[in-house]
């Protein structure tokens, strides 16, 4: 079965190629590439990826302008229908700004750009993105962001924790995120936003393969469906 994925490029995206490579390695076929101004997405998508970068120069707020671009209306519709949507880094910011995930990403607590490998704890292994990980496993995934400080009010935090929607948590205080949250799922479990970059951890030549498991999990979930 072929895995029909799409990677969306906004003006200022810079991890779209890495995302495409990671998806192709897991799926065996290259993903379709979609430009932000496209009002329609390709038919019959199995997976939509919003890559990292600095969409619209991060003007106003990170992800705010991209969240209101034509293609995001189509992404929201597909997400509603249950199509898996992964947003990494700027893609995570876009998903929160679009209201597809709760919370918001603030400037890092120490005002610094954090760019290094971090250790994450896998909190949820029930989702299509995380099924291939061992529960509570510590994995190594790189981060590179300035606005990765996850914020939501206490009520929202309690709700997402209670529903098992925290996918990944930082093992060290990376950016000041509330409860060290690094990745969040939507209520239906088909939308994941995370600040760390799994697409940069799919090859031993560039620092490990812990990220590859995420893409392999998504491909396998479709094959099993």
């Amino acid at each position: 079965m072929s895995f029909r994925a799409a990677v969306i490029t906004f003006p200022g995206s810079n991890c779209d190629r890495d995302m495409a490579v990671a998806l192709e390695r897991a799926a065996g076929t290259p993903p379709l590439r979609v430009w932000h101004a496209d009002a329609a997405l390709p038919d019959r998508l199995d997976f939509i990826a919003l890559p990292g970068g600095f969409s619209y120069g991060d003007y106003l707020r990170s992800g705010a302008m991209a969240a209101n671009s034509p293609v995001m209306r189509a992404v929201a519709k597909q997400a509603e229908r249950g199509v898996p949507v992964l947003g990494v880094c700027n893609g995570f910011q876009v998903l929160t700004e679009a209201g597809l995930l709760p919370g918001a990403l603030l400037r890092n607590a120490k005002q610094n750009f954090v760019c290094r490998d971090v250790q994450l704890k896998v909190e949820n292994t029930q989702s299509l993105f995380t099924a291939g990980y061992d529960k509570d496993a510590a994995i190594t995934i790189p981060v590179a962001h300035h606005d990765g400080n996850y914020f939501a009010n206490e009520e929202t935090l309690d709700r997402i924790e209670g529903d098992g929607r925290v996918a990944f948590r930082y093992l060290d205080a990376t950016n000041g995120s509330q409860r060290d949250i690094a990745g969040v799922l939507n209520a239906a479990g088909n939308v994941l936003g995370m600040m760390p970059h799994p697409e940069r951890a799919v090859d031993t030549a560039t620092g490990g393969t812990d990220g590859a498991i995420l893409f392999e999990s998504a491909v396998k979930s479709l094959a099993d469906a």
Binding site: A64, A104, F151
Partner: protein
Amino acid sequence: MLVRIHVTLKPGVLDPQGRAVHHSLEGLGFDGVEDVRVGRLIELDLADGTSDETIDQMCRKLLANMVIENYRIEKLDRKAEAA
């Protein structure tokens, strides 16, 4: 008509930028600075008669992120501004 939108982080939301500015002011020897919050000022030049509701919608849909920010709308008298 000229409208200024003042966007600020909600009380309780950590403002690292404000904290850094606060620290710098103290470093310059200014005592008695209790707190600093850094916000954003957006000036809109709107067609006369633009409704308050429309301006509100602009703020809620794009200019402010209601999860973390508050906004305040200030309407300016263009003639007074020019003077």
